[in-house]
């Protein structure tokens, strides 16, 4: 009986992390080394386009979403996107926006953004 309770508790803990789903679209075949877990990924909103003055490459697009009823928040989605960005080796997220779709009393929150890496000086044109 105790084991069953332990198992159910463990299952609940594992399932607790399933509130969001993420998608990634690759724009390049190249791979970049993952960033340190403590690396700060800056998130620039769509309203603040990044010009070419600081050259960069857009390596892919990330999308993270989840339902508000599952405790998902815009901040949580952005953090999930940052984790994905670090794993992909991205320096920052640009064109970021959070969309909200209302659906039968619930709300689907979707974070979207483009992952970028800053171009090294020698490759910047």
């Amino acid at each position: 009986m105790r084991k069953t309770i332990l198992f159910l508790g463990l299952s609940a803990v594992l399932l607790a992390g399933c509130a969001t789903s993420s998608n990634y679209i690759n724009y390049t075949n190249q791979r970049f080394p993952a960033k340190d877990p403590y690396y700060t990924v800056n998130v620039y909103p769509e309203s603040q386009p990044q010009g070419a003055s600081n050259p960069y490459y857009v390596i892919g697009k990330v999308s993270v979403e989840g339902f508000a009823s599952n405790g998902v928040s815009p901040e949580g989605l952005a953090n999930k996107a940052k984790i994905i960005a670090r794993k992909r080796g991205a320096d920052a997220i640009i064109n970021a926006k959070t969309e909200v779709f209302h659906y039968y009393g619930d709300a689907l929150l979707r974070f979207k953004g483009d992952l970028i890496i800053y171009a090294p000086a020698e490759t910047a044109k």
């Binding site: 969001t20 690759n26 390049t28 909103p45 490459y57 952005a78 959070t98």
Partner: protein, 178 residues
């Protein structure tokens, strides 16, 4: 009986481990694959979580073999060169992805460039337990007051951006120092 229970528990636990933590949509009665909810704008593809070559899969340990051409980056032909325009910025496509470039000579300025939303903060706002006003040096030689509000364990900036930790001046300067 106890052995059977143990085996059952081990299999269930292993099943949980191999099941990707993907969507909550099953809890809402939706399917995983090819769902178009109709009431939401556009179709949205929820790829099979076990398909190793799924280009939509966010896990970097499953390297996708496909490279997508983004519909957000619209091709524009300028002086015989194909540029890609997204959010008012010109890009060229390279092996590393879309590279941001300066607006090419002869290119027509994009009709609608989304401008930054004005930051309305009062420099006299007092710091409270939940809000903090920080003066960030800007490019004009002055300071821009940036109001940060506490949200959960982090802080939210004037444009809704979230900082897990209290942001450094350099972070805020990137957004509000222009």
């Amino acid at each position: 009986m106890r052995l059977t229970l143990k085996i059952l528990m081990v299999f269930l636990f292993l099943g949980l481990l191999v099941t990707r933590p993907t969507t909550s949509y099953a809890w809402h009665g939706h399917s995983y694959v090819g769902v178009n909810f109709g009431v939401w704008p556009g179709a949205y593809y929820y790829g099979g979580p076990y398909y190793p070559y799924n280009p939509y899969y966010a896990d970097p340990y499953y390297y996708p073999r496909y490279v997508e051409v983004s519909s957000s980056y619209q091709p524009v032909l300028v002086n015989g060169v194909t540029y890609y325009l997204n959010n008012g910025v010109y890009y060229i496509y390279t092996q590393y992805g879309y590279q941001a470039v300066a607006t090419p000579a002869g290119a027509v300025a994009p009709a609608a460039v989304i401008q930054s939303a004005p930051v309305t903060v009062t420099s006299t706002a007092a710091n409270t337990d939940d809000s903090f006003t920080i003066n960030i040096p800007n490019n004009k030689g002055g300071y821009t007051a940036v109001l940060l509000k506490k949200s959960g364990n982090g802080f939210v900036g004037p444009q809704g951006e979230f900082y897990a930790d209290f942001p450094k001046v350099t972070q805020l300067q990137a957004m509000y120092g222009k």
